[in-house]
């Protein structure tokens, strides 16, 4: 089959690889009908996530048709249309039972690697480094889905792929960011990063009762995605002083909830940007925490900073004193996909969430490598790429 494979920093290729097979009794094989490139795939593309191996198949946002199931999968059959969560969960361990699916104890075959770095291992992920399982991803014609009796969500007939594809990651991720921010009536929510996750976090924040959302980015195509939405104001961080503007926009209080939808490859301005660039380049810091620092400083006293943006390693110059002094609550982590997929499918069916406006490019799988470059370089007003095998 054809698959998009990682070959090193900035080197992604279309390769011909063997078809996947059933390896475990709870596996299914899915014929991919649509897959997308995630902003977090760019962290792999840019070489910021350790333990990638040359030849790994990429992709963790995908959906398709079940073509084969393992002996223990009884809820799916050949021909079912499914959307697959990017986190892999066994459904039986302490964490799965506790609704903390992305912390599953039993889905990472390389748990020891994650334990070395983080103490304990979260769940395995599709196409996202060997430390997080080393599972072959879904930017391919076929993909093997472990614990297929637990994860995949059957798509009701009549719903086009594009409406439900983002249930595989970015919609639940944006939604969880807003849900974990603990939004209350009258709240102003500041969202850093208006990429797809930020876009869905903004929609979710409004759905969950935010009075107002302030969106922060610098790319016109991203800002224009959200500018027209009712209750949303935008800040271009290259043209404005973010902290001062946020203070003015909130009558001197600061935003009640802050969402960092950027993560480890943040861009900033001025000295701090240079500082992070240098430290990251010489590996004294693995992640650039520009946005996180700003969110901690901007947030009102007693507020919440919610972090859907990915961090992988070490950061410094984090104003922990600001977080402590203002009594902030910090929420973060990979998305507990299985918790949100069904309720969000219902919201899509009810027309409450716009899932398709974010797509800027629809391309065949073969054009994946070029699409990675375009998405990274933000060329051609690229906000989200959907690939069709």
């Amino acid at each position: 089959m054809k698959a998009i494979c990682w070959h090193g920093k900035g080197d992604v290729r279309l390769d011909r690889v063997p078809d996947p097979t059933i390896l475990n009794p709870h596996d299914a094989i899915v014929s991919v009908t649509a897959t997308a490139i995630c902003g977090s795939d760019l962290h792999l593309y840019d070489g910021y996530i350790p333990t990638m191996k040359e030849g790994d198949i990429l992709g963790h946002e995908f959906m398709g048709e079940v073509v084969e199931v393992g002996a223990e999968v009884r809820n799916l059959k050949r021909g079912d249309k499914v959307v697959v969560p990017f986190t892999i969960a066994c459904g039986h361990c302490f964490y799965c039972k506790d609704d903390l699916w992305s912390l599953c104890d039993n889905s990472n075959p390389n748990a020891w690697m994650a334990e070395k770095l983080w103490g304990y291992s979260p769940s395995g992920l599709f196409g996202y480094s060997h430390m997080l399982g080393g599972y072959a991803g879904g930017q391919a014609e076929y993909v093997r889905v472990p614990f297929a009796d637990v994860g995949p969500l059957k798509v009701p007939e009549g719903l086009p792929d594009e409406q439900v594809l983002f249930l595989s990651d970015i919609l639940p991720t944006g939604y969880q960011a807003a849900a974990q921010a603990d939004i209350r009536d009258g709240d102003t929510v500041a969202v850093w990063g208006c990429g797809p996750v930020g876009y869905f976090a903004i929609q979710s924040a409004l759905l969950l009762g935010a009075e107002r959302v302030i969106a922060i980015d610098r790319f016109p195509e991203r800002l224009s995605l959200v500018r027209g939405m009712e209750g949303v104001e935008v800040i271009d961080y290259e043209k404005t002083h973010v902290l001062e503007t946020l203070r003015e926009l909130t009558g001197g209080r600061g935003p009640d909830r802050c969402i960092d939808a950027v993560g480890l490859e943040a861009h900033g301005t001025g000295l701090m940007e240079v500082y992070d660039r240098v430290k990251q380049a010489v590996r004294l810091e693995t992640d650039r925490a520009y946005v996180l620092r700003q969110a901690l400083m901007a947030c009102r006293k007693g507020g919440t900073v919610s972090i859907p943006g990915v961090y992988g390693g070490l950061i410094d110059k984090v104003p922990i004193g600001a977080a402590f002094g203002k009594g902030l609550t910090l929420r973060m982590g990979q998305t507990h996909m299985h918790r949100w997929m069904r309720p969000l499918l219902e919201r899509i069916q009810a027309g409450e969430i716009d899932t398709t406006s974010v797509i800027s490019h629809r391309l065949p799988l073969e054009e994946g490598p070029g699409a990675y470059r375009m998405f990274r370089d933000k060329e051609d007003q690229c906000t989200k790429v959907v690939l069709r095998p």
Binding site: P18, I88, C90, H92, F94, D105, A111
Partner: protein
């Protein structure tokens, strides 16, 4: 063997009082770590050059690096005498009732099947998968308290004389059962073997933990996670023969 099984049985009951830690100064620890890492890296790179047809000087570097690493890894038992017994410990929590966890661990045949140090009379000598050398033994269950504790010992002719104990304890509320394993072994090969076993310590620890994780996954989820055999744009990786052995054992655990 000289090591008393009752010593270990007593230890395994005394979990509330962990065994006395080895006292090493921080400087000592750092120096040793530096010697192991630096010496090992030196030896490996020099060996690499040697194999690629390097100069005699590479041989000296390799020997020097090796000596440094072994020196750092040893606890100076090179001075001679009986190599001391080494202890490995690992634990995992399995989200099932204690009796069931015990039954799965013990297995249908009534023999413990803890991967790394499994022994079974009906299977003949057992080999440790994942180690660079062939180590085999036969052993017997020497003490058993149903649902709580299992102690086994290698027979005298074993390559590695050892005593192992597994203790099963109820975990708090909803959390299932804690499985604690302690394994005391006497490294073979005198002082050199002792040094090697010390250097191998992280590997042995990881093998124990890996086995416990697999046991947990098979017990809770009905399968151990794997990516063996999945496609990639690489040539078939060298997976090591022990994978097949693990799979054979997994079948036992799955059906237990």
């Amino acid at each position: 063997m000289h090591y008393s099984t009752t010593d270990l049985a007593r230890d395994s009951r005394g979990w509330e009082q962990p065994s006395k830690p080895v006292s090493l100064s921080r400087l000592d620890t750092a120096l040793r770590a530096a010697a192991i890492v630096g010496g090992g890296a030196l030896a490996i790179s020099a060996l690499g050059r040697l194999m690629g047809g390097g100069s005699p000087r590479d041989g000296v570097w390799a020997a020097l690096g090796g000596a440094l690493a072994v020196g750092g890894a040893s606890d100076f038992s090179l001075r001679g005498g009986e190599p001391r017994t080494r202890r490995l410990e690992a634990s995992v929590t399995v989200g099932l009732p204690r009796d069931e966890v015990y039954r799965r661990f013990r297995g249908e045949g009534g023999l413990p099947r803890f991967g790394l140090f499994t022994h079974a009379q009906d299977r003949g000598p057992q080999r440790v998968p994942g180690l660079p050398v062939n180590v085999s033994w036969e052993g017997d269950v020497v003490e058993e308290e149903e649902g709580r504790r299992l102690v086994w010992a290698s027979r005298d002719e074993a390559d590695v004389v050892h005593v192992g104990a597994v203790v099963f304890r109820d975990a708090p509320e909803r959390r299932g059962t804690e499985v604690h394993v302690i394994l005391d072994f006497r490294p073979p090969g005198g002082a050199l073997g002792a040094a090697a076993s010390k250097a191998l310590r992280p590997v042995l620890d990881e093998l124990m933990r890996r086995d416990l994780r697999r046991f947990k996954a098979l017990s809770e989820a009905g399968e151990a996670p794997t990516t063996e055999g999945q496609p990639s744009a690489r040539r078939a990786e060298d997976e090591g023969a022990w994978r097949a052995e693990l799979d054979a054992r997994d079948d036992d655990w799955r059906t237990a």
